[in-house]
């Protein structure tokens, strides 16, 4: 089961920094994704205005969520499908298992779904004798490696090409061991061939849904590979797994979001395949599943409506925030310990698993704000991180190192005369330690700083002391 391990962030992040293969992979992400997004944004003069529309559309949806969910459910029924409301992960797992058993499923193909990771559906199905087969290439790679995804768009971005080759050799044991896998095309062709038969064998196809449409009861998947389409067309049952906040009023509204999503995620004008699925196969269709089910997961989201964290529910899962985050660039996704990494993960993980189980994440940020500057729906991420920090402070669960000394500092800040006194003596002490050198490389109580940097010494008397001295002698500098 994908049990949250977010409280191990400090240790995992330090290990990540010391991992050369991971650092190589993260470097590639950083140098490509940032310019790719910029190129796409530059080509569309309306992009900034579209971000405003996308934000306003999401705010409207959240302000009318019950209405749109009910309309969606009605439309799914009218087109021959069924909606299953699941308040938590266990309910969703049991629902999916029951549906798979109804279909007599032995194997299930899967398109990429973060909700699937959230409820640990793969492990659960395996434990119950049903084999899940990941078809998204990145998910397939990490399934072979028994890893979890490290990015919400590219689950295997932490894996280098060399590592993929190694993994394929280890697992595709029925193939010629001496075959060349130098050319990455060979790797992809191998994955394509291996997975092709599995699509046809599967009894059930489980996909996610980036959005779902109230007007028509349709679920929407956005892929570049086409794996999601094969997953939901070939088996006899299609299960679309999604969460409540992804509903969109109309088909046209979906296109507003689609104009900002791929550009933000990969720098593409539109992802290769955007598919709207509605109900099971029609009587005259020559292909398609005979049954269509939507599993609608809550898992704590509804509790954030109407509260100070509501804006986090605007997220359209583009990944731009983590692509631009200097902390993510340094440590990658696994350090965050759960399904959603990076800036959005630092807000969402505490929300869904409890802030006491993810207490470092809201602090693992310099609050640089780059995430907010690229978010297509303008989520005020630094503000929401601060909200979690306030929550932790109030509940007394701020990790100790974060709290130390701050109450004292705040007290001084409210008492100017004493502040001046402390500042005067503090600077004298530091200059004593520096002893004429411009900076010190070891400083008691400041190990966090001096581990990697020298500490610049104070120039001399404090500004306030000098200013007061000048005023009293009547001279200005």
């Amino acid at each position: 089961m994908f049990v949250p391990n977010s409280n191990a962030f400090p240790e995992k992040s330090s290990n990540a920094i010391a991992d050369p293969q991971l650092q190589e992979a993260l470097g590639l992400l950083r140098v490509q994704s940032i310019p790719n997004r910029l190129k796409a944004v530059d080509k569309l003069p309306e992009f900034e205005a579209l971000r405003d529309r996308a934000r306003d559309l999401k705010d409207h949806i959240l302000g009318h969520l019950d209405q749109y969910l009910l309309q969606f459910e009605e439309q799914v029924k009218l087109s021959g499908g069924e909606v299953h409301w699941c308040s938590d992960a266990e309910s969703a797992r049991q629902t999916i298992l029951r549906l798979c058993r109804e279909a007599g499923a032995k194997t299930v193909t899967k398109g990429k779904t973060m909700i699937g990771e959230e409820i640990s559906i793969n492990d659960f199905l395996s434990e119950n004798g049903i084999e899940p087969v990941e078809t998204d290439l990145g998910e397939y790679i990490i399934q072979l490696r028994k890893e979890t995804p490290s990015h919400i768009i590219g689950p295997a971005i932490h894996v280098t090409k060399r590592q993929v080759e190694q993994t394929f050799r280890e697992h595709h044991t029925d193939l010629e061991p001496a075959r060349s896998l130098e050319d990455p095309n060979a790797l992809m062709a191998e994955a394509r061939a291996k997975l092709r038969d599995r699509y046809f064998e599967a009894d059930v196809g489980i996909t996610g849904a980036n959005f779902f449409i109230a007007e028509t009861g349709s679920t929407v998947i956005v892929t570049n590979e086409g794996n999601g389409d094969l997953t939901q067309t070939l088996p006899k049952m299609h299960i679309a797994l999604t969460s409540i906040e992804k509903v969109v009023p109309t088909l046209d509204d979906a296109m507003t979001l689609l104009r900002v999503l791929p550009r933000s995620a990969t720098g593409q004008e539109l992802s290769v395949y955007v598919t709207f699925s509605t109900g099971p196969r029609r009587q005259t269709d020559p292909d398609g599943p005979k049954a269509f089910h939507v599993v609608l997961l809550d898992n704590g989201r509804s509790g954030y409506l109407g509260g100070p964290m509501q804006e986090m529910l605007r997220c359209i899962r583009c990944g731009a925030c983590m692509d631009h985050c200097p902390v993510y660039h340094a440590v990658g996704g696994h350090a965050y310990g759960w399904v959603y990494p990076g800036p959005i993960g630092s807000i969402l993980t505490p929300a869904l698993v409890g802030v006491e189980n993810a207490k470092h994440l809201p602090h693992a940020s310099s609050l640089c704000g780059r995430c907010e500057s690229v978010c297509p729906v303008r989520i005020p991420i630094p503000k929401l991180l601060r909200h979690w920090r306030e929550e932790e402070f109030t509940r007394g669960i701020t990790p100790a190192v974060q709290r130390s000394g701050l109450g004292l500092w705040a007290w001084f800040a409210k008492h100017p005369a004493l502040y001046r006194f402390a500042a005067r003596w503090g600077t004298r002490l530091l200059r004593l330690i520096a002893d004429g050198r411009g900076s010190v490389s070891v400083l008691p109580l400041a190990g966090g700083w001096t581990k990697h940097r020298d500490f610049p010494a104070p120039q001399g008397k404090t500004f306030h002391d000098q200013w007061r001295a000048q005023r009293s002698t009547g001279g200005a500098k």
Partner: protein, 224 residues
């Protein structure tokens, strides 16, 4: 005993009633200026965008020219002259016999077809995107299983924006796509299948077609 549905709706309703976006109006669409071309400029935009997404595009004057264009394309790339045709008359009623070296068959794909030829609902110039949908005449498997997908786009099927594409579909279904009127799938297809999951290297032909070839016919879709 309350169900998950009851509990979820109760919490959602309570949250919505407290929300500072309750009653927030829905914004209208913002259609990019780029999609507001017409005539020749529209065709050029479609071609430029489709090619930027790694599709190939040729133009022919009449529907009668399509079979030859298909044969040329396959020959030019050393691909076998075997195609699976959509049952739709826009493709199926063309004179394939004029190309005797082309082996044709018609219907859905079972995964063994190397190339398919299909019509489209619309070609959307804003991003060089094809709108296709499932159906008896347009099986979905033809859009996804073959290695090469050849799409025939007639001049009056070319539109500037996604919204106009939806409008075209609505027009076919008496203006209303709700209550089960939607085709089972409607797909927006922009270029061939690809993935950058292996070391961030962009590779074509992940699971869907490796090649997407668009034949634009400078004529209205035939009425059969």
């Amino acid at each position: 005993m309350s169900t998950d549905r009851d509990r979820m709706l109760a919490t959602i309703r309570a949250g919505v009633s407290r929300s500072n976006t309750k009653g927030a109006p829905k914004p209208g669409p913002l259609v990019p200026e780029r999609g507001q071309q017409t005539g020749r400029a529209l065709v050029e935009l479609f071609r430029k965008q489709a090619e930027a997404a790694a599709a190939t595009v040729v133009e022919v004057a009449r529907a009668e020219d399509v079979p030859a264009a298909v044969a040329d394309y396959l020959r030019g790339r050393n691909l076998p002259p075997q195609i699976r045709l959509s049952p739709d008359a826009r493709v199926n009623a063309l004179d394939w016999k004029s190309q005797p070296l082309l082996e044709t068959s018609t219907g859905a794909s079972d995964g063994h077809d190397l190339a398919s030829v299909t019509p489209v609902l619309a070609g959307v110039a804003e991003t060089g995107t094809l709108m296709v949908h499932s159906g008896a005449a347009t099986p979905n498997t033809l859009h996804f299983l073959p290695e090469t997908h050849i799409a025939v786009v007639y001049a009056d099927e070319l539109v500037g924006t996604y919204e106009e594409g939806w409008k075209a579909l609505r027009a076919q279904r008496a203006g209303d796509l709700s209550k089960g009127a939607m085709p089972r799938t409607v797909s927006f297809v922009t270029g061939p299948s690809r993935s950058a999951d292996i070391g961030k290297i962009l590779l074509m032909g992940a699971h869907g077609p490796k090649r997407l070839h668009v034949i634009m016919v400078d004529a209205k879709r035939p009425r059969h």
